[in-house]
Structures are given as structure tokens and as C-alpha cells.
């Protein structure tokens, strides 16, 4: 390939989408904190509304700061376009609302983030969209669950809470054979650890709140279009292949080709549903992405050290990290996630609920809260917090033990993290000794 070399990942992390500000020369991407943008004359206004010219009209639809973020994540994922949304949940809803309406069906992996599960299991059925949840490790289960009214296949690169590794190539093949796109939530992995489009996925969403922003300071989401899915050949997506009365009969696949999905999502979804991102949030996420590869590697390095430490502790009965011997997805993880399986994982403590509480309460460096993907290390004990209403039986059904602890390993000196965890383990051990 004579002389062709695309800019590489780290360079794109710093530069993609951005230019020095044409008005001021500012090198950092400015925060365009404005609701609207001035038209030069009436025809200019009409041409922007009618998609004849490029530019910005109103920050719910697009904003220059957000646009830099959207290009940057698209460049890193090797897609055609993206939309920055108010949260990861908003990105998921935007994808679904763009593809389907009442009478449609989704096949989703069973091990989803709780918010996504709630949306699919409880909220969307009220709007006529049903979901069948299947074993994330079983591509045949995805195939078996597909129905004539199915419009989307959905899973997470790493399941929650068990870190099941999604077999993207196999599940994409199942979806494509049925004329369906595969949407992948890559929040836990980011494009540094996995490139879902290269593996066959068609759409990607991120909760940018997590590792992309990386500092636990904003809520935001990103929806990315790979541009390879053939909506017309599928014939199942009238929102993309038939005239849209809400835009003077525009047929998105006809006019925008590979960018049809992401264009409809913006022209309809952002316009009507309105879950846009604040430009200040976009700015913060851009700062995070500038150091994405450095941070992700450190997150993974620290996680591997901590996993090794925990394995040697008698108080720990089980660790769910796919790189470990005995994990059912170890081979698949080595194939799809060679740089590592992220920095969020769960492990089980002896001593049940009380031991979990004692462990968490004894920690000082790890912060006890409901989030992941922060530069700072985080911990949560699901049985006493997010899942506290569940009894042991119900917890088991959700794949959670009474002594399950979830860590999100941060960027601190790993020896300090290990010291902190040691303290927690001693507190848990003391409790079990007293009991016995």
C-alpha cells in the first residue's frame, strides 16, 4: 500500500475532529456554550434547515464542541459518524428509537448494565417493544431468539457483573444472517481495548461517563455508526429506507448512504427526543480521551496486579476476571481483548452479606459509590446497595452472591490499593473468625 498510513490511535485521541479555533487560534477545543447560531440571511437559514449546507443551528441538534467529540470517537472506533448524548442510557434509547417502533423486538444479552436491562425489560414494553434476553455466551441462543419482528441484537463487550466476553464475530454473523444490526455497548472496554466494528458490530454505544471521560465528573453518552450495515438489503428498517414525513419525504439511506443511520438519529432523534449533551460535558470528555490509552493501560496493569493479589487471599472464594485460568471466556478474551479485560470486575468474599459490608466499610482509598471507570478506585457491595432488596435466592439468579464485591480499579499506586484491600480483607476475616 504505497505510502498510505492513517494517523494512529494516540494521535487521533489528541487531534481527531479538532482544529485550532478559526476565530481565536485557541489550541484547545473551545466550549461553545451557546444555544443557537446566527444565520447570515434567510436563504442561509433555509439551507441549513433543509440539509443543503453544513453548520449549526441549535445546540440540541449539534454544537461545535460536541462535533469534535463525535468525530474523535468515530475516528477511534473507525466508523462514519457519532452523536453525543446526555448519557449512555440516552444513547441506547436513541439507537432503538431510530431503528424501530411499536411491534418490534430486540434480542439482548442477559448480562446487561441494570439501567439497560430496566429500559428493555420494563420501559420499552410500554411502548410496544419487547426484548428476549439470552445467554451472552451462546450465539445459538441469539439465533433461536430472533423472530420476524426482531430489529436489533444487543450486548455488552464485557457483561455485567460476570464479565462475559461477547463473541462479537459469532453474534454479528448470527445477526447479519437475519438481516439485523448488532449494537455493542463498549463502555467497559473503550476503543483502546477492543474495536467492535473491526469484529463485525454495526453500532457502538458508550457511557462516556466512565473510562472515556475517565475522571468521574460528567454524565454523557456516545452512539457511533460503523456505516457498513446495508439497511436497504435488509428491508427491515423503514425509518431509513422509506420517505420520512417528518422531513419532507427524505429517504435517509438514499441520500446519505453509509451515514444513513447516524443522520436519521440526529435529524429525528436529537430533534424530537432531545437528549443532547452539554458542550461543557463534551469538553470534559475530550480532555479524558486525550489520555485514553495511557489511562486504560494503567487501569489494566493495576487490575492485573490486584487480581493476582486477591487470588492468593483465603478470604476470596472466586474472582470473575476473564484472563484467569478457569474463566469460561479465557480463550475468547485472549483473542478479542489482547490488551486486557478492563478494570471493572467482581469477586466473592467468605462470610456473605456481613463480610461484604465490613470489607467495604474498612476501605479508605477505594470510594464506596455507584459508578465505574473513574481515575480513582471505586468499590460497591451490590447486596447491601444496588441490590439490597433482593434475598439470597434472587441475588443468585442475578449472578450476584451475598459476599460479591465489585471493584473499579483506578490509577493510584497499586501498592496503596493493595494495602487498602488488605485492610478490608482483614476486617472481613475478623468477622468470619468471630462467627466461627
Amino acid at each position: 500500500m504505497a505510502g498510505v498510513k492513517y494517523p494512529a490511535f494516540d494521535t487521533l485521541s489528541l487531534h481527531a475532529g479538532a482544529q485550532p479555533d478559526p476565530a481565536t487560534g485557541a489550541r484547545a477545543t473551545p466550549i461553545y456554550q451557546t444555544a443557537s447560531f446566527v444565520f447570515t440571511d434567510s436563504d442561509h437559514a433555509a439551507s441549513l434547515f433543509n440539509i443543503e449546507r453544513t453548520g449549526h443551528v441549535y445546540s440540541r441538534l449539534s454544537n461545535p464542541t460536541n462535533a469534535v467529540l463525535e468525530e474523535r470517537i468515530t475516528a477511534l472506533e473507525d466508523g462514519v459518524g457519532a452523536i453525543a448524548t446526555a448519557s449512555g442510557q440516552a444513547a441506547l434509547h436513541l439507537a432503538i428509537a431510530t431503528l424501530m417502533g411499536a411491534g418490534s423486538h430486540i434480542v439482548a444479552a442477559r448480562s446487561l448494565y441494570g439501567g439497560s436491562h430496566n429500559l428493555l425489560a420494563y420501559t420499552l414494553p410500554r411502548f410496544g417493544i419487547q426484548t428476549t434476553f439470552v445467554d451472552p455466551r451462546d450465539p445459538e441462543a441469539f439465533r433461536a431468539a430472533i423472530r420476524p419482528d426482531t430489529r436489533l441484537v444487543f450486548g455488552e463487550t464485557l457483561g455485567n457483573p460476570g464479565l462475559e466476553v461477547l463473541n462479537i464475530p459469532a453474534i454479528a454473523a448470527v445477526a447479519h444472517a437475519a438481516g439485523l444490526p448488532l449494537l455493542v455497548d463498549s463502555t467497559f472496554t473503550t476503543p483502546y481495548l477492543i474495536k467492535p466494528f473491526e469484529l463485525g458490530a454495526d453500532l457502538i454505544l458508550h457511557s462516556a461517563t466512565k473510562f472515556l471521560s475517565g475522571h468521574g465528573i460528567v454524565i454523557g453518552g456516545l452512539l457511533v455508526d460503523g456505516g457498513r450495515f446495508d439497511w436497504e438489503a435488509s428491508g427491515k428498517f423503514p425509518t431509513l429506507t422509506e420517505p420520512y414525513a417528518g422531513f419532507h419525504g427524505l429517504v435517509f439511506a438514499e441520500e446519505f448512504g453509509p451515514s444513513a443511520f447516524i443522520t436519521r438519529a440526529r435529524k429525528e432523534g436529537l430533534r424530537d427526543l432531545g437528549a443532547c449533551m452539554s458542550p461543557t460535558t463534551a469538553f470534559h470528555i475530550l480532555q479524558g480521551i486525550e489520555t485514553l490509552s495511557l489511562r486504560m493501560q494503567r487501569h489494566v496493569d493495576n487490575t492485573r496486579r490486584i487480581v493476582t493479589f486477591l487470588r492468593a487471599n483465603k478470604q476470596v472464594t472466586q474472582i470473575g476476571y476473564p484472563e484467569l485460568e478457569g474463566h469460561p471466556d479465557r480463550a475468547l478474551a485472549a483473542q478479542l481483548l489482547p490488551r486486557g479485560c478492563g478494570a471493572v470486575f467482581s469477586f466473592d468474599l467468605r462470610g456473605g452479606r456481613a463480610a461484604g459490608v465490613a470489607f467495604v466499610d474498612a476501605l479508605n482509598v477505594f470510594s464506596h459509590l455507584a459508578n465505574v471507570g473513574d481515575a480513582k478506585s471505586l468499590v460497591i457491595h451490590p447486596a447491601s446497595t444496588t441490590h439490597h432488596r433482593m434475598d439470597a435466592e434472587a441475588l443468585k439468579a442475578a449472578g450476584i452472591g451475598e459476599g460479591t464485591i465489585r471493584l473499579s480499579v483506578g490509577l493510584e499506586d497499586v501498592e496503596d490499593l493493595i494495602d487498602d484491600l488488605s485492610q478490608g480483607l482483614r476486617a472481613a476475616a475478623k468477622l468470619t473468625e468471630v462467627k466461627s
Binding site: 481527531a16 433543509n50 453548520g55 454544537n63 440526529r266
Partner: protein
């Protein structure tokens, strides 16, 4: 819309409108391996301003059936046949890259059919590198990569799209990837083999606009001088910061220029 041309189904984007013989017409012709979608924005503009817009998919491209045409002249003949099928006596032609050679050839050989000419990212002759010829003939992805990377200015390799949220390099690559095997190779051969451009340019009688990208690495403005000299007093616009993919890199400046002639 679909219409039969030369025994094969041809697709033209018309902004969903019926061709009205009472209106003036503009035909948009895409470049190598592309399709009508590269012209969507200006086509929407001229449709709103009362023109018949016809953004073609050349044979074998996009939604048009049939084997791809092997030469610029064959493609030009096909454009004339399309105008006949649409019962359009005269139209303005806007062409990008290979499409600009096709438009030029129509204007030279059928001056009565062409009201005005807009040549975008154009030069004549338009030699193609051996590497692109070989790799496109062999249907190698590297041909898409070369044309995509060299088709954008160096700065736009890093984005900075005025169309919010669209990654230019990715969108162009995906469009190339949609082309049928053999199509890009034939287009590249057609560009390379068209040596009559300067002679044909002297035959053009209608107003001519040339829009060039200041940072174009495939058809750099310095290479266009001979064509500019051969054409009858063309209005030449060189758009700052843009490479060869002007419809994406400088869509608003391009539209401003097109409005002067189409």
C-alpha cells in the same frame, strides 16, 4: 428515480421530485467508485430553488445496474442517453473528478445539450498512479485507502468536518467499500486513458466554472493549468484548505461557487 437507459436500469436522485420539462435542469456526476450521495447537499439546494436535479449513479455504480462503462466517452454517451430518456433538451452539468471529465466530454461533443459546466476537482489529462491502477484493477482495499487518504487534504486526515459528527475519512472509505468489484478499477482506467480532454475543452461553448481544492493531492491546482487555458474563459475558484473531496471538505464554499453557474 429509476429509468431505463441503454437497456439497463439507471438510478438518479431527484430529491423525490418528478422531472418537469418547464424547469431548468442540473445533472450531477460523481467521481470514481462513488455514487450520487456525494452530491446530496447541493442537489437538495438546487431542487429547493426550482431546478430539476438529477444526481446520477453511473452504470454499475450505486443503484444503477449494468456493466460499468469503460471509457469517459462511453460514460458521456450514457449521460446524453439519460437526458434523452428524461426528455431533457438542455442541462447544466456538474462533475467531480472522473465525473468532471464526463461532463467536459458531453459539453464538447454535444454543446447544444449543455447550458453550463461546473468542473470540480478536475484536471486534464488525469493520469492515475501505477499503484492505484494496479490495486484497483485487483480489487484491493489498498486502492480505497490510497484514494481516501490522498483524496483529503493533510489537515482533514484529522477531521474537522463542518458537517457535525461525520468522520470524513470513514464515510468516504465506506462508500468505496460499497462499490462493486471491478467498478473502481474501470473508473481509474477510464481517467488514465482519457487523453482527449484538452482538445475537447477547446470545443466547449457554454459558461464554465472550475472549483479546485488548494490542498488537492490527486488533482492539484497546478496540474489544472492546461485545462484552464484550453477552456473558454472559465471562472476558476480555488478553495482554501480543501483537498480533492470538495463536496465534503468545503461544502459551503463549493455551493456558493456552484450557485454562480448552475
Amino acid at each position: 428515480m429509476k429509468i431505463e437507459v441503454g437497456g439497463n436500469s439507471a438510478y438518479c436522485y431527484t430529491n423525490g421530485r418528478v422531472i418537469d420539462a418547464a424547469r431548468t435542469s442540473v445533472v450531477f456526476i460523481h467521481g470514481s467508485g462513488m455514487d450520487h450521495t456525494v452530491w446530496t447537499l447541493p442537489a437538495r439546494h438546487f431542487a429547493r430553488h426550482g431546478r430539476n436535479v438529477i444526481a446520477v449513479d453511473l452504470p454499475g455504480h450505486g443503484r444503477s445496474a449494468g456493466p460499468g462503462k469503460q471509457s469517459v466517452e462511453e460514460m458521456a454517451d450514457w449521460i446524453v442517453a439519460l437526458l434523452d430518456a428524461l426528455k431533457i433538451e438542455q442541462a447544466a452539468l456538474a462533475g467531480h473528478s472522473l465525473g468532471s471529465l464526463v461532463a467536459l466530454d458531453v459539453a464538447a461533443r454535444h454543446p447544444a445539450r449543455v447550458r453550463a459546466l461546473a468542473l470540480v476537482g478536475s484536471t486534464a489529462p488525469m493520469p492515475v498512479s501505477d499503484a492505484i491502477l494496479a490495486d484497483s484493477a485487483a480489487n484491493r482495499h489498498s486502492a480505497f485507502d490510497m484514494l481516501t487518504q490522498w483524496g483529503y487534504s493533510k489537515r482533514h486526515q484529522y477531521g474537522g468536518n463542518s458537517n457535525p459528527g461525520i468522520w470524513m475519512v470513514g464515510a468516504t472509505l465506506r462508500l468505496f467499500e460499497r462499490s462493486k468489484p471491478g467498478v473502481l478499477g474501470a473508473d481509474m482506467q477510464a481517467c488514465n486513458a482519457y487523453t482527449e480532454g484538452l482538445e475537447r475543452a477547446t470545443l466547449v461553448r457554454c459558461p464554465v466554472l472550475m472549483v479546485l481544492g488548494a490542498e488537492d493531492r490527486l488533482t492539484p491546482p497546478r496540474s489544472s493549468k492546461a485545462l484552464i487555458n484550453a477552456l473558454p474563459a472559465p471562472d476558476v475558484r480555488i478553495l482554501p484548505g480543501s483537498g480533492h473531496t470538495l463536496m465534503t471538505e468545503a461544502p459551503n464554499l463549493l455551493l456558493d461557487a456552484l450557485k454562480t453557474v448552475l
